[in-house]
Amino acid sequence: MKEIVVISGKGGTGKSSITAALAYVSDTETVLADCDVDASDLHLLLKPKQRNSKAFFSSEIAVIHQDKCTQCGLCEQVCRFDAINFEKGQYQIDSIACEGCGYCAHICPESAITMEIQQDGMLYISDTRLGKMLFHAELRPGAENSGKLVASVKNSAKHYAQQTQIEYILVDGSPGIGCPVISSLSGANLALFVTEPSQSGFHDLQRVIALATRFHLKMAAIINKSDLYPALSEAIGRFLQEKNIPLLASLPYTEDFSKAMVQEKTVAELNIEYFQTFENIWKQILTIMGDRK
């Protein structure tokens, strides 16, 4: 069982559309894990039917136990998020502003503040219309994606893939290079970069490549919307070549990506040309993984 993680650095490059298309052409060889939990969109294209769900507890919030509080005000002074206010005769935590850092609980001389874990969202295991399983999650408003959440989604996908002897987990990673992305790369076999010819696209690609290099992963790249700024696409191509990262495809900008989305389909389902394009990309991925010549 191997993990292929699709990441982009910059958001909006077409990462999820491409992941969905690869999921379609790879058929029974893959299960899907949507780790872009802040903006999980795969479910829009795949019409999941929930088979299993589980509440997800992760972040902590400070709770003041009023019976112990002597109202010394130290907590309000140290809180960097202005999340503690004196209201209606007592100190209170603003649950939206509290970041859960725990400084107040640490410093309270009366031990009147404890950190309590709160529900951040739900984890789902779903059947999809493609006949493959999707592992995904949904956050409550204000909750954030985390390494822990990504690890939970990936672990349940891994567990299922192992039991059913499915060879690959296709992971839709999140933008950026932070904790959730590190967690999605950890334990992976191949990082597939989806980039676009924009200054921020190129810049963030370089950052995400630096991160993936640290994890000694196999790498490959796709330039999406390549014809929007051909000169920059060429520069990205040269950069990839210097880094020895194979460029699997340069996909021109097309409204068909949006068209497919409106129809709640993956791009690979639109016509035979797209199917072949993505099938070709998938075959190249298997070759890079050393699984197919």
Binding site: S146, K148, A151, S186, A188, H216
Partner: protein
Amino acid sequence: MKIAFTTKGTDWDAEIDPRFGRTEYLLLYDDETKTLQSIDNREINQKQHGAGPQTAQKITELDVQLLITGNGPGGNAAMVLEKAGVRILTGYANLSAKDAYQRFLSEK
């Protein structure tokens, strides 16, 4: 020398966990006293962020000199380990701890 392996189990047959921060166990081998010890690291799954640096801290507190793992630690965790003088060997995923140790010896 104390060697730490990131593993999915608690003995020599345990597979190397490719993950560093969220590894399930740390297997410790002291090649002077020839003793093997396992540390349960699964509580790390309760941590939302910073799994890497926290596992790195654990390793430095255990006075480890060599780390044998899979993908390797991320930037922050690697900095902690480097500052503490822990040597890091990556690319040992899918091997058992025993085979990983043998490979380390043969490549020494």
